[in-house]
Symmetry: D2
Subunit: 161 residues, 4 copies
Amino acid sequence: MVTSIDESGFQPADPQFEQRVRDSFARQPAMTLIDAEMTRVAPGHCEIALDNRHELTQQHGYVHGGIVGMIADNAGGFAAASLVPAGTSVLTVEYKLNLMAPADGERLVARGEVVRPGRTLLVTRAEVFAVREQKWTLCALMQQTIMAMHGKAERAQHPGN
Amino acid sequence: MVTSIDESGFQPADPQFEQRVRDSFARQPAMTLIDAEMTRVAPGHCEIALDNRHELTQQHGYVHGGIVGMIADNAGGFAAASLVPAGTSVLTVEYKLNLMAPADGERLVARGEVVRPGRTLLVTRAEVFAVREQKWTLCALMQQTIMAMHGKAERAQHPGN
Amino acid sequence: MVTSIDESGFQPADPQFEQRVRDSFARQPAMTLIDAEMTRVAPGHCEIALDNRHELTQQHGYVHGGIVGMIADNAGGFAAASLVPAGTSVLTVEYKLNLMAPADGERLVARGEVVRPGRTLLVTRAEVFAVREQKWTLCALMQQTIMAMHGKAERAQHPGN
Amino acid sequence: MVTSIDESGFQPADPQFEQRVRDSFARQPAMTLIDAEMTRVAPGHCEIALDNRHELTQQHGYVHGGIVGMIADNAGGFAAASLVPAGTSVLTVEYKLNLMAPADGERLVARGEVVRPGRTLLVTRAEVFAVREQKWTLCALMQQTIMAMHGKAERAQHPGN
């Protein structure tokens, strides 16, 4: 494997990062709509999972690629959020997602990690796994750019404005 | 607006393309979950819209970027589906999405178009607009690769398999 | 062709934008290496062209995808540069490029345009055409994010720093 | 770190993969133009390096982002090529590149690896490092889709055709 990221290498600027990240996640009604849960937060890392159910599927019975994208985007975004200072919000600038295998499992798990923690822009990536009877299949790969809005605690206007 | 879409160039391989595309859309429970509707299909083009409602929002009250991605992905994918022969299904290989402004409106409209209709791979792009009191704001831009699965009418395995 | 570019919408912040953009292009030795020329600059738009020659090709005799990427990246970046204020430099944050047809022609032309001119981030796209005996074939499509470094006239550190 | 890819996990379909990959690289005049060398090939992996020199730079004296993209694209593409059967050529469908830090070093090293080795489509990623006095700085990150052209040994038409 090319990179070995030592999780201990990230120093969160905000000691309360976990509570702040979990609170932010809890304020997203769209995550409730799809019943996603934040299963782990660590400095520069975030894991989001959801159980497969009929409402989330596409025409072949797999979880819809758009739902896969939602949790990949969020896993990367909250991994970035874990590293920014208190009073700073984050916004997704863009992401690129490869759907590599059907999201065919009882459960999906998205794992995001920060690759480059810049002050203004953070680059992340995420992997999404479909889990069926303990077997994990990598079904999507994401690369993402996140913007830190310093001094704007979750009331930020979008950078485009 | 930047783009003016010239629609005259595409010849659908399947005269029944509209019914086939609309049927495929109707078979996606995830589109029902978010109450998206297919508002237009034409050769190489597709428009998908949804009304903003609390369940679809993120922490700032705008439509969640993941929902924006879902309708952008689908608008591009169904634009591609309109051009493939009968008995062929399509799969999203990958897409890249820029979120450029908050999805702040009563309604979102995603417009997808095919740029390159290859036999195996089709390249599309999509624009997503937030509409508030008749004012349209471009809030997201997508570029996407779609794979045509010839001879596999909506029962296709994913190309990764 | 799919896109018809309406140029009337952009107001350059710097009346001397063309000279500034052309000077910046002229300071890039890598553009000299591949003999690219800037054939047009307008507010929010830039065109870069090069003649095909053996040194630029890959194993099939077409212009190398990496060279195609170079001029697409630059066409988008300089389109963005045309809109920023004097004393501001621009940096490519990221881009995504689809190679859609062989770059098979006597000449390549890359046309970049700004889609969203934010203050800090600008979103652009570019199309690259291979030209053979007056026939233009769209061979690549790019979507890109550019960062404006205000108050840093071409001496900017990278935003990652 | 999210993924741990065991290099031994890839079984090359072609025992002569290394010679085939190195021959293909040697047939690219554009790689000669920038003096890139293939420093390593292993199943699912490829490393390409080049020495910094004035001709490869942009206006700030760093290696041009387009050159960074060229070696990232190639490192991913040849990593994919190492896994396909004899008599099969590969083509870049698309890639997405984040430039994260200036390519500021005496030497650049691009390391590509296959993440998903599908039969028709392979997904890869690559990292590019700038090396200065033994210090390696991650300056770019790429995610890429490659198409395998079975039965077309380096004479393939582009899939777009």
